[in-house]
Point group: C2
Chain length 458, copies 2
């Protein structure tokens, strides 16, 4: 029986015998009895196991350290501790897997930096037990949301010969022995590599997802993406997961409706399905977390243009570190101000084209594109989307203007030729959502085994 | 309104006006009227749109090619064709996105080889529309199965410095300019690379998943994995998706129960939720497909040891190309024979240790390991699993025996020291499942954008 089943059926199990297997998270010993804080990891709550010297291996049990795997046979009984619904009075405790006294995860507060070094053990702590279960449940909430609405889940290729954003920060993928890269006429002989061309790890599945949107109407990706950025910040990782929905016959307005609906839905699902975890995070990581998220679910999302946003910022009676300017990007401090100004989430639309990607729909003003960023209180930008340029000529002209290489993207351009239509999509960095959902402020602590510059352990 | 909604509510919509947007899949023109085979991709079935010369743009509509995106306003009416529940009698047809006459996807039979070259357009064909929807629905079935049973979804790292199988076929990941790899004392200066060490793309998330099993009890991965094999077969790709569940306090017997239950559950879910797609695949790809799968769901999975398997093969009154031998691997022809012999799925357990991975639990006989392969009729091996060696000393001894480098795997070995326990898991190549589910015989045709030697397009 799992701890989860035990908690769910505690009333029926009262005074019945059960068998449970799991780990000692804490062990308080008295001369004639002892308490084991027991967890099998199937739910956030721990089970209190009590035993006394009637156990025939009492002295051995008293020697069992934190971290040991054990099997407990015992009876579910009312607890003398009013905070607990029940406890398990052990009739037998068997050691299944020993653990030495110098086990790194002791029942005390460890720093997150220390726990990162013990990444393979940290899911055994309350904090990471909560965080990675939220990660799992939020993943499912996303799949459930899209699948129930008829979206086709699209597995974007990770190894790619094209470069979505036109940016250069991609990891190379090769079979070559780096000690001895084959050359021909002085240049790398890519003909000899696995794909007979230079290959990289994708930064986005969006372009390929568009081909699915134009076949299935609605599609979404949910998979890993990579950035070869040498950024040691709290929000950058070299490997992270993205959700990228793409919808045919949908304009920017429709796109925003989906963004809003999806976010509210996922947040609601996590609040509903991770009650214990969220209460823990609210108490120990971000006070007011549950209130913040509950408020989001019931709030009206505001909609302003980038121009209106800059106007508001410029009129603000506040000295910003970066002066807000028309035609330019906004900074973290501006995002913060604007969500406080509206006291809620804000969609900012119609961004200057020069700070946005080539595939975004050019507005009639010639200066802006039909792009949108969603800013939420307490986190700033949480996702971004756009209507895609469906006009073949305009797309090609923009790519030429930016000096982009069109050869590897001819298929993408052709999507505009073969029954192209108005379509839109957005991208959500999954870890950015998790930071918002958990209150954890470092991306390294919402990824099981984070990859950041200099870190590729485990 | 989507086609899916239209089919689901056809009775209530009868004689009502609707607006639909999608693509022309076929267009039959008569002098005074025309028929458009219309699809918006939201369901497998197409909608028949009929129009006549009362349309004020009748002559323009008649010129619309296959592939065009259109908007149709019309009334849902009874069809004269008894095979159709309804048709849409158009009062207005508007061109949304043009398509030239030389559009590659015409309403005729295209070879799969040709369609691979048009991978960005092939989901618009009936065959691939079916295959990739099955891929999406099967993905969700897998998530749903594990989430409903309390498994924590684990995102394994893809960039890794360790090598799960001890095999060498991994892609290198680097930020180095391959034209000019930095060297120090004649060797590659990995200190200068992003992770300050040699990095590769993972071949399996299992080892890391074990750390989650020992924290959460039950976990599963579902993500991409990579093999740098130069294999041009119908079942090998360089990039594919794997499902890798891992369960604590579970032995090989329990592992097999989960493998059987999960497979039946996923197959059942796909049969239930892709009826039209599966009927199409049954009719045009593999006759008897639905019967094969239905039979699997209700069949008893047989269990034999590898030794018993070889005994049966050796006694078989048949001349195999490869002679079955005790202590050796079995070939495709043997897999086929054994599933026919039992007329159903067969678990083969307790394999010779020398042909299996280092982490598998060593049986007391000193010769075999607690490994299992599941063979299914018509496909052979569909998944493989094992109980993991939980004994620290035995694991280390086996790694030494195999000459394995233990430094990057010290954390994995330590999982045996810190409350290690009996645990098991298995791996299922997702594309292998899809080949089985769809009857498609080439892995290139169940991956949206396959990566195989020489192919990295799109």
């Amino acid at each position: 029986m799992t701890n989860k089943e035990l908690f769910e059926n505690k009333d029926e199990l009262m005074n019945k015998e059960i068998v449970i297997k799991g780990w000692i998270r804490n062990h308080r010993k008295q001369k004639e009895f002892g308490f084991i804080d027991f967890s099998d990891g199937t739910c956030f709550k721990h089970v209190q196991v009590v035993y006394d010297e009637k156990l025939n291996n009492f002295s051995d049990v008293q020697k069992m350290h934190v971290g040991c795997a054990i099997e407990v046979i015992g009876n579910v009984v009312k607890s003398v501790n009013p905070k607990q619904d029940f406890e398990v009075s052990a009739t037998s405790i068997t050691l299944l897997g020993d653990c030495p006294e110098d086990y790194p995860i002791q029942p005390k507060k460890h720093s997150r930096e220390f726990l990162r070094e013990q990444a393979y053990l940290r899911p055994r702590t309350n904090l990471f037990q909560a965080v990675f279960r939220v990660r799992s449940v939020a993943s499912f909430a996303i799949h459930k949301y899209f699948q129930e609405r008829g979206y086709v889940y699209f597995h974007a290729p990770l190894i790619t010969a094209s470069d979505c954003e036109g940016a250069g920060e991609m990891f190379h993928v090769t079979c070559f022995d780096l000690e001895n890269v084959p050359k021909k006429d002085g240049a790398v002989d890519y003909e000899k590599d696995m794909f007979a061309c230079p290959a990289s790890l994708t930064v986005s599945g969006q372009l390929e997802a568009e081909s699915f949107a134009l076949a299935y109407g609605k599609t979404y990706t949910f998979g890993p993406t990579f950035r070869a950025e040498n950024s040691n910040t709290r929000v950058h990782a070299n490997e992270f997961w993205m959700v990228e929905p793409e919808i045919a016959f949908c304009d920017l307005k429709g796109d925003m409706e989906i963004m809003e609906d999806m976010l509210k839905n996922v947040v609601h699902y996590v609040l509903d399905n991770c009650k214990d975890e969220m209460e823990f995070l609210d108490k120990f990581v971000e006070n007011g977390l549950i209130e913040k998220l509950t408020k989001l679910v019931s709030s009206k999302f505001n909609r302003i243009t980038h121009k209106e946003c800059i106007d508001i910022l410029q009129k603000a009676n506040i000295k910003f570190e970066f002066e807000p300017k028309q035609g330019e990007d906004i900074a973290k401090e501006h995002e913060k101000y604007i969500t406080e100004y509206f006291d809620g989430p804000v969609f900012i639309t119609d961004w200057p084209k020069d700070i946005k990607a080539f595939y975004m729909k050019q507005n009639p003003d010639g200066e802006t594109v039909a792009a949108v960023d969603l800013e939420v209180p307490g986190a700033g930008e949480i996702m971004g989307g756009s209507q895609r340029e469906e006009d073949y000529e305009k797309l090609v002209a923009r790519m030429d203007e930016l000096g982009m290489e069109k050869d590897t993207l001819d298929w993408y351009i052709n999507l505009r030729k073969f029954g192209g239509c108005v379509h839109s999509g957005f991208g959500m960095g999954f870890e950015r959502l998790l930071i918002y959902l958990t209150g954890i402020d470092n991306i390294r602590d919402v990824i099981p085994y984070p990859r950041t510059p200099g870190n590729c352990e485990f």
